[in-house]
């Protein structure tokens, strides 16, 4: 098979059904060989030579980003397909494990918070950053909890993120505001917290909202209030249900924030 070639300077195209030449299919097939190639390869600046083949790390990062977005979409679906979610989450975990072994799993220290660099994830930042890069230079908004978006050096814009920009940029905009602690934020946090864990193999809380045994009054009221008051389509109600907290928590989804989130979605 012809190797898929990627030109990082070209404007990527939407991918639905197409065979994007930028897709590094064959590179992913040689997962193990990468280790020897890595030493000789310049991860960050591109390769010496005439072929503009992106480095393995970039491709891996691209796959990670794509997977995280897919997991997000899983949470937004009316009926998340559990098998698909599990398979994607396992893929993310695999990548995380490999990146941890590489030592490439690192986060830039937040400017003011003084946290240790490994406390927060790089993924959020990269995804946010790659989207914002397409939209031109913008001051990166504060992403809650003192996480400051930073740059992982050497990584240029991830092509795959752009194809998903339209529906996703609104997601990130919602996410970027500290106030929006509706279903979105909780789902995102759940997903990103999973990768934060230093013990690979535990996808924390990723599926906790799938567990439907917690039909206590809080959960029921949250869901019913959300569905009667929001009055929006079933997609929104999925957010409400995704935000249903474990028993014992008195958290109620803020309907004002949910409305705001819906407004943004509807506009796109």
């Amino acid at each position: 098979m012809a190797c898929c070639v990627s030109d990082t300077s070209a404007t990527p195209e939407p991918t639905q059904g197409a065979w994007p030449h930028r897709c590094p299919g064959t590179m992913f097939a040689r997962g193990l060989k990468r280790k020897s190639a890595e030493d000789g390869e310049d991860v960050e600046g591109g390769l010496a030579g005439t072929q503009a083949t992106p480095s393995y790390s970039l491709q891996r990062q691209s796959l990670l980003d794509m997977s995280l977005v897919k997991l997000q979409l899983c949470h937004m679906l009316v009926e998340p397909n559990l098998c698909r979610s599990v398979l994607i989450a396992n893929t993310v975990r695999q990548i995380q494990e490999e990146m941890t072994q590489d030592g490439t799993w690192r986060v830039v220290a937040p400017q003011a918070a003084g946290r240790a660099p490994l406390d927060r994830l790089v993924s959020t930042e990269i995804l946010c950053r790659s989207v914002r890069e397409q939209e031109g230079e913008r001051p990166a908004p504060d992403v809650g909890d003192g996480r400051m978006p930073g740059l992982v050096p050497g990584l240029s814009a991830v092509p795959s993120a752009q194809a998903l920009r339209s529906p996703q940029s609104s997601l990130w905009e919602v996410d970027s505001s500290r106030e929006n602690r509706g279903g979105f934020q909780k789902s995102l946090d759940q997903i990103f917290e999973t990768l934060e864990s230093k013990t690979p193999g535990s996808v924390e809380e990723l599926f906790s909202d799938v567990d439907s045994s917690y039909y206590d009054l809080d959960a029921v009221l949250t869901g019913m209030v959300g569905s009667t008051q929001s009055g929006h389509g079933s997609g929104l109600q999925a957010f409400t249900s995704a935000a249903t907290p474990p028993p014992g928590s008195s958290c109620r989804s803020d309907l004002g924030e949910l409305d705001h989130a819906v407004e943004i979605l509807v506009e796109t």
Partner: protein
């Protein structure tokens, strides 16, 4: 086919000349989502062919009887009954819609004049009775022919109602509804060889039912971890052994199959046999696990083998050997280098089914571009055929198709990049005794027959 001389079925896919027989469904380019066929199943005799669709409807076709005056219509399948099996529902507690899509249909063996089948969506299984009515009673005492009640005081004489023939009417009525037993989405149902029980499997649990009892089911497999955070594997398919009523298998998203014996314990969490092929380290990639996920598992009619379908291949396993399959057939190996794109557009999660021929000598499964593949286990030959309206002249032979994987594309070959990934054949069925196959292509059902037939 019984007429083929030495008894038993003739050899499988490749000694046969497959011909177009019929196609059912709309011709429109615009496919209504509800019309997409989601399951296809022959009954035990092969005279009835049931399809379920995303709109929750079941359509049953019946094979026409042999008629010497119309030899060409012999063996044609025509609509026998259509009914709405499942309706969309709303789960108020979770604020989620429950799709009405029919995931599986399984027939019960026929025990009297009526036919019974089980149909299921994500949450609820229903037992349907399909019966014929070709007589009606006339001459009631208490009501008129048009059904209006008569004034009792005006009745001066009594008569015995008589049965008169009428146009055949086929009625479908729900006899049992098996609900509220599955938290996750049902992916399989399987009728036991005892004809009294059946199993239903969702992502994390398998339940055993008695066909007569709807308010109770027994949980026989539960792989839900205490902490959902630790979930890494789900159940993808399950089936009862065709002869041993205590044995069933279930497959997982990690490419493993577990065979369980219900006699060993009530909860079959510990398997009796564990089938897994060791991974080939040279082909390992980030997609290895996803493409190893098994989308379908089917016992052979003999009960000696089982077949599994993963994304790129079908494997035949001998039940006596757990370490590796006895046969591996590549369905569309040319997609291996495209896995990243297929992951991106979600095609990598497509769940293809597979089926055995009546004699177990051949196996069939679907692919993209409306292609389907047949593998003859005796001659070791395989063929790629296409279900399309272009090859749909009556009794026209199907021409084998070939996908060009690189280099110069020959005439009549199609290159990998030209394949239409929206045209996927996920559901196929093989007549239990004859060489007749049903292939579901989105909203169309194709029926192909062997020329000899």
């Amino acid at each position: 086919m019984a007429g083929a001389g030495g008894g038993g079925c003739p050899a499988g896919g490749n000694d046969l000349q497959w011909c177009f027989s019929q196609v059912k469904g709309a011709v429109d380019e615009d496919v209504a989502e509800a019309d997409i066929i989601s399951t296809v199943e022959f009954n035990y005799s092969g005279d009835l062919l049931a399809t379920g669709d995303k709109g929750g409807r079941v359509v049953i076709f019946q094979r026409e009887q042999e008629n010497k005056s119309r030899p060409h219509s012999r063996g044609e399948y025509n609509v026998y009954s259509t009914f709405q099996s499942h309706e969309p529902e709303f789960d108020y507690l979770k604020s989620l819609e429950i799709e009405e899509k029919i995931n599986k249909i399984r027939w019960l063996p026929q025990q009297n004049a009526a036919h019974f089948l089980l149909s299921t969506n994500d949450k609820t299984i229903k037992l349907w009775k399909i019966s014929e009515r070709d007589k009606r009673a006339e001459g009631y005492n208490l009501k008129d022919e048009d059904g209006r009640l008569r004034d009792p005081f005006r009745i001066t004489a009594l008569r015995v109602p008589i049965l008169k023939p009428m146009d055949l009417m086929v009625e479908a009525s729900p006899r049992r509804i098996f609900a509220n037993a599955h938290t996750y989405h049902i992916n399989s149902i399987s009728v036991n060889s005892d004809h009294e029980t059946y199993l239903s499997a969702d992502d994390l649990r398998i339940n055993l039912w008695h066909l007569e009892i709807t308010d109770r089911s027994f949980n026989i497999v539960d792989i839900k971890p205490v902490n959902m955070e630790e979930l890494t594997e789900v159940i993808t398919a399950a089936e009862f052994h065709p002869h041993q009523c205590n044995v069933f298998v279930y497959s997982s998203s990690k490419g493993t199959i577990r065979l369980c014996d219900m006699r060993s314990s009530a909860l079959c969490d510990r398997h009796a046999k564990f089938f897994e092929e060791p991974e080939d380290p040279s082909s390992r990639s980030f997609f290895s696990e996803i493409i190893s996920s098994i989308s379908d598992v089917k016992f052979s009619h003999s009960g000696r083998y089982m077949m599994t379908r993963d994304y790129l291949s079908v494997k035949v396993w001998d039940l006596n050997m757990e370490s590796r399959p006895v046969e591996t057939h590549q369905v569309h190996e040319y997609l291996r280098s495209k896995l990243c794109s297929l992951y991106e557009n979600d095609c990598i999660f497509d769940k293809f089914e597979c089926c055995w021929s009546g004699s177990d000598s051949a196996i069939m499964t679907g692919s993209y571009n409306n292609f389907f593949r047949m593998f003859d286990r005796t001659t070791r030959r395989d063929v790629t055929l296409e279900a399309s309206r272009e090859n749909s002249k009556p009794r026209a032979s199907l021409k084998p198709r070939k996908v060009c994987t690189g280099g110069k594309r020959k005439k009549d070959e199609i290159s990998v990049d030209s394949l239409d990934f929206n045209k996927k054949i996920l559901h196929t069925a093989w007549h239990p005794a004859e060489n007749i196959i049903a292939v579901a292509a989105t909203n169309n059902l194709y029926i192909f027959q062997d020329k000899v037939n």
